[in-house]
Symmetry: C2
Subunit: 395 residues, 2 copies
């Protein structure tokens, strides 16, 4: 047999390994120094009580013959899809139950969705980028082109009518930059995609952090998106499900090409290669869309938002240019003193014992930038901010 | 964009829809008759107490900051992989921890594994077949050829040195036929695969039903398999996890081709398109490999085995030829009186109000055969067997 040669073309990322290595070396040399990690993209607060209670109750269901659940629907239980449908309705979006597919996370679906597309599509990805978009397409042998996100466009590149693309990835609020498109900006992307006959794969994993009404919570708030977009949503950051694994994908019935229907193809793909999300997890996920739980979750999100605000205020005070921080758990800052991403990493580690993520690790446009995240504790974030201020004011 | 044209070549299966339709029509015409369903491939007994207890405890872990789990390892937690490694050791198989990948089920991995293989591979599949093997390859545009399983070879086709294949699917004990390869027979397949440079994708989802020591519980009990096989395992039937979703896949480090290593490619694939199985589910799965739980699970398996025995005894008594029933939850019988699969379906539904699965739905070699399953209750199975005996003795 032949293994897939395209794997030879996937770039190995040493970003997080390199961060771990430099941090460990510093730690070994300075065992007395307390390091604060603001580089992580994982949540730290536990699941909220309403979710815990729903999970326990679902476990009980599995213990009794009358309520035991075997194979479930490939697209997810109706009780969960109905909760998702209602959530969309709150944002003025009418989504059909058969347009919602429960997944084990946005990442899985963002990768697996490519099964329904021909290899002969040109893929347009913004740079800097969540590496999954690139690697999944390289693995399948597709041509990938990039749209530069940079300081000039506020890390929000707009469509270029001269560039021909078939599959377009947009993540807003963005990982790693925290930048988020306004509804007006997204309308330009939707119009471009419809004109091109392209599809937008819209990663909305961070939508719960949005407070500004000018920003889109869903691409389906934009007129015309139902003929050109698929939306990937996640409970990972919304409800702390990074280790519980549940998300959902919305594929409009109107998304068609060459006589094939994307929604039906995806159902067929899932029926063939997937057997649904655990019943227990779906019960926990359904709780997320109920009012009592929403309050608890908002508490957690507010906690992370407060961290983001502390970091953003610090940047404002220091006069450092950044994106994110307001409608996103990420702060993407321009390295001061003209430092490169890794220079600033070392500077911050040595001078303030704070670990962040060098932007250069997310693509060539990330060079000279740096990511801090809001997923730490208040105390650690406060201490980190204070150290950063002291360090940068000295120079 | 272009959607994937290969989807046009996937055959729509109307098997279970047609069964449902004919059963509903009969039910509507005869509302007084009690129908017994022996067509289902899903378990009916609830999760055992040891698993329930592990699940509750894991839910508690998720409720506290000190024990909360975010993103886990792509390949699964070590605590679960260690249990799996020990289980393999009981069967005399030494598997490395880095050769075990925890999955959300054998079906997902059986489909997704194709990502690591080139499109240019010829796929050999036994017929009748679990449709997932065929559909996943058609979806990817691969050439599929079939090996006929039939009465002459006891539904256990052996390798044909004249046939060139790159990827070979073997499911033993088989779904739908219940037939299981002996170690000696599997050795022939392993030798053939090694000689051809082919890979065997070995579906061991039903291994827990094996009692006969001449049969293989794992393809890695066969010498030489570590250079030509990948094994897909499931807790669905073993521990009633059809709705809880956990399985595992073993890829030897020695499985290589063209300078690429299948094990490393799969880890890269999973890191890119998967974020692991829920922590809660992995905790429940880990319990399955502990002694107290094993006893409870054996109780459930024995329960299903007793159903299989009842059905097999009935066939023996009626002089009907069949495979399975002894080391498998499936009984694959030759339709009596020269009936076709669907004729026998109607005959059984009308005459005994028993619903099974027409073999013709699993491929052309399934015509004239019929599948009954052992996943019902004792009472229902006993009643069904009694009705079948009465009906077939009358004719």
């Amino acid at each position: 047999m032949k293994l897939n040669d395209n794997f030879r073309n996937i770039k190995e990322s040493y970003l997080f390994a390199e961060i771990a290595e430099r941090t460990a070396a510093y730690s070994a040399a300075h065992p007395d120094k307390k390091i604060i990690r603001l580089g992580i993209g994982d949540v730290t607060l536990p699941l909220v009580p309403a979710v815990i209670s729903a999970l326990h109750s679902a476990v009980e269901d599995m213990s009794r013959e009358e309520t035991f659940k075997g194979y479930g629907p490939y697209e997810g239980y109706a009780f969960l899809r109905e909760g998702i449908k209602k959530y969309y309705a709150e944002n003025g979006v009418d989504v059909g139950l058969d347009e919602i597919f429960v997944s084990d996370g946005a990442k899985s679906d963002l990768g697996n969705i490519l099964d329904i597309f021909s290899k002969d599509n040109t893929v347009l990805i913004t740079d800097p980028v969540y590496p999954v978009y690139v690697d999944t397409n390289v693995m399948a042998g597709r041509k990938v082109i990039f749209a530069a996100a940079n300081e000039r466009n506020g890390f929000l590149p707009m469509p270029d009518g001269k560039v021909k693309a078939d599959i377009i990835y947009i993540c807003s609020p963005n990982n790693p930059t925290g930048a988020a498109y306004t509804k007006a900006q997204l309308k330009e992307w939707v119009d471009y995609a419809n004109a091109m006959g392209a599809v937008i794969l819209y990663d909305a994993a961070y939508e719960y952090f949005i407070t500004d009404d000018n920003l889109a919570r869903s691409i389906f708030q934009i007129e015309g998106a139902e003929t050109c977009a698929i939306e990937f949503c996640s409970l990972s950051k919304t409800a702390g499900f990074t280790g519980t694994r549940c998300g959902y994908t919305v594929i409009p019935r109107k998304l068609e090409a060459g006589g094939l229907n994307a929604n039906r193809l995806w159902l067929r793909r899932q029926a063939t290669k997937f057997n649904g999300v655990p019943y227990i997890v779906q019960k926990g996920a359904a709780a997320v869309f109920e009012e009592e739980c929403r309050k608890q979750i908002r508490g957690n999100i507010d906690y992370y938002r407060e961290n983001a605000r502390m970091i953003a205020d610090c940047m404002d005070e220091l006069g450092i240019w950044y994106t994110g921080g307001k409608n996103s758990p990420y702060i993407w800052l321009k390295c001061p003193f003209g430092m490169s991403s890794w220079e600033f990493f070392d500077y911050l580690l040595n001078g303030a014992q704070v670990v962040g993520t060098p932007g250069a690790g997310f693509g060539e446009n990330g060079e000279g930038f740096f990511r801090l995240t809001a997923f730490g504790s208040h105390a650690a974030t406060k201490e980190a901010v204070s150290r950063i201020k002291t360090l940068l004011s000295q120079k």
